[in-house]
């Protein structure tokens, strides 16, 4: 047992340290909490993607491990020897004493996070194998990769063979370290990606000095469906973390301007690529991010700098795109959703009023209730924006909300078209999937909300 745990710890240690080094190199002045959560997620994404690529190219799980850990070790060593001695800017606490209100709010947020942690712990205790999709899809694949002599021969026989392989690759890699298919690995990944998304939102406090960021983190921690999905070991929360990370770093890059944060769009592209290698809707995330950034270019009219950022984003996207392309070539399974679509189907569906109403009804129902909240915070969130921005003495607010706002809207439109042209019964399709898609976007929507109420003077990531 002890060696299993030690193996599990080692399987996380290298990606966490390697990711930390990559993030610290691209964002040397970033706050530690963000560098730690982004770095660990980035390292795990790199490890999973390279393991998947190694497996697809060579057909061997050991080659997958060699590819992922070989590249991570080389990259980490290279960055370690070339690391710059940068004088870290200390983010000083606000001067003076905290008011009772501030202390109360901080205590409330800490309590919320503690109860969320208790929920995570309880779920891990009672359902350590996760829920249906965990054993029906993701962990079964990981078992095939870990146990089979020729895993690639089995790809066509897997359930949903068109799903990309990053998550099961990451689980199988962990099992290689532990020398057994222990539940500790998928469980630890579930805890990290769930808690990591909350930490990302709360951690923005250190770059925006806005109280909205930790409040957004607390609201995320107080979303029961988010916690349940995470601990069910579904890939949606892994997607959620990658999307949130991609959006967060691009937003920071937006308000940080040029300088030492200039390479953040590269990281954003890497995270978007990981999302594309995790689930099929990750491709829609990539397309939506490119569309949202294109809108930003037109909106901001800063052609050169926005063009460079877009170029960096696309460069970051390249490894994920490459891994996904190799996967599609090795396992050329037609898309269940779009394989049989014809021009006639498109014409029929566009003018099918009943179908539109079914989708809109599903959207309305799930948008209001997807969080399984006891007390629904959505109206309060809306009211808060209206009041804050409507104040006569309102300061000038940051425009960093534009990117997450655009992305969420474009993604919702994208899902709408997927449902419109889906070959499945539309009511069933929306009912069975939309709330899970919403939970992937929920932290980005909260980020959008937090920036809407954050004064421009409070954002600084330089």
């Amino acid at each position: 047992m002890i060696w299993t745990v030690v193996g599990a710890i080692f399987s996380f240690a290298l990606p966490a340290f390697g990711g930390w080094m990559i993030v610290s190199t691209t964002w040397p002045c970033g706050p530690k909490i963000l560098r730690a959560s982004l770095g660990t997620g980035l390292g795990l994404g790199v490890a999973g993607m390279l393991w998947m690529l190694g497996l697809l190219i060579s057909g061997s799980a050991m080659a997958g491990l060699a590819a992922s850990d070989g590249v991570l070790i080389t990259l980490t060593a290279l960055l370690w020897t070339r690391r710059a001695r940068i004088e870290r800017r200390v983010v000083a606490p606000p001067p003076g004493r905290f008011s009772k209100l501030q202390i109360g709010a901080a205590a409330g947020i800490v309590l919320t996070l503690l109860f969320a942690a208790a929920s995570l712990g309880l779920m891990a205790y009672i359902s350590h194998h996760g829920d249906f999709d965990a054993f029906a899809i993701w962990n079964t694949r990981a078992r095939f990769f870990y146990l089979a002599a020729k895993p690639l021969d089995l790809l066509p026989d897997l359930t949903s063979p068109d799903y990309p392989l990053l998550l099961p690759s990451l689980v199988a890699r962990g099992w290689q370290y532990s020398h057994q298919d222990t539940v500790i690995i998928p469980l630890s990944l579930a805890v990290f990606f769930t808690a990591g998304s909350i930490v990302l939102l709360c951690g923005l406090r250190s770059v925006t000095s806005s109280s909205a960021a930790p409040l957004a983190g607390a609201i995320l921690a107080g979303t029961p469906f988010f916690i349940m999905q995470g601990m069910s070991q579904y890939a949606d929360i892994v997607m959620c973390f990658f999307i949130t990370s991609a959006v967060t770093v691009f937003c920071v890059s937006d308000f940080a301007g040029e300088g030492e944060s200039g390479y953040l769009p590269l990281l954003s592209g890497l995270f978007a690529g990981f999302a594309a290698c995790t689930k099929n809707e990750g491709t829609l995330v990539v397309v939506s991010m490119i569309a949202a950034r294109s809108c930003m270019i037109l909106w901001n009219r800063r052609w050169k700098i926005e063009g460079i950022r877009m170029g960096l984003f696309l460069a970051g996207l390249a490894p994920g795109f490459l891994a996904l392309t190799v996967f599609r070539r090795v396992a050329p399974v037609p898309s269940v959703l779009f394989a049989n679509i014809t021009a006639a189907t498109i014409r029929t569906r566009i003018i099918d009023g009943a179908r539109h109403s079914s989708i809109l009804a599903g959207y309305w129902r799930d948008l209001l209730h997807f969080g399984n909240w006891w007390i629904n915070p959505l109206v309060l969130l809306l009211l808060y924006v209206v009041i804050r921005r409507g104040l006569k003495s309102a300061p000038r607010f940051t425009t960093a909300w534009r990117f997450p706002g655009l992305l969420v809207v474009i993604m919702l439109c994208g899902y709408y078209f997927v449902y419109l042209f889906s070959p499945y019964a539309v009511v069933w399709h929306v009912q069975s999937s939309f709330s899970r898609l919403l939970v992937q976007l929920w932290p980005s929507a909260l980020l959008f909300w937090a920036f809407l109420v954050t004064p421009e003077a409070q954002v600084d990531a330089s």
Binding site: T112, A118, F135, D157, I227, A339, I375, P377, I387
Partner: protein, 236 residues
Amino acid sequence: MAKLSTVLAGLLLAAALANAVRQPWEIHHDFIRLFSEMDGPSSFDKVYGPTRRKLEERGLTRLGYRTEPGSIWLNKAADYFLIQYTLAPIVLRAHTNEDEWVLMNYSATKEPFPAADLIVVEDLGNGLALYKRPQDTTPGIPQLGKVWHEREGVWMGTWKRRGDSGVFYAVWKGPEGVEIEDEVRFESLKGQDIVLYRKGTMGRYRGRLSDDGSKVESGQAEWFASGITWAATIEK
């Protein structure tokens, strides 16, 4: 107004805290009993671990998977996925009749039952039995080729021949992407006149092979409406 925004922020935090505080209790009440009563991967691992070893000893890596006739797949899917998870890396193929070896889940009937095209090889216990398809007695017929690309009305079919047998695994794609599967068996070839039996429709396809044996044109089937024909090109 500034006070109102502070009050709203407080309410938001209170809502978040209330939701977070309630969740552990909800999990405790709703899920502990549910999960303790449910057969999960842990219990399946204990029960079916020995089955995996038995199958591995026979050198089996890929099997068909079936349940009792007439069962509804949706009701059986959870069991299938749990058993597949436990038996991995052995692949269980649920929606095909192509495999020579079949793992039969007879838990609903309590004992292995006879299957028309299979013989029972071993009762593995815990509701699972290993079945095998007997060697097909139809001798190899070169005219049957490997794959038939068939068309009947709006349906486009692909019939894949099982080895050298007279049995085809057939899939048809229809309008709007609808897909159906069935089994087609070769019955006779007299001169160039060929007869094949389709299991699902319990009727016969009749047609005439071209002189070079590469296609069938304007064939008839017993269930076709008048004016409908079938045709196929044969991939050798």
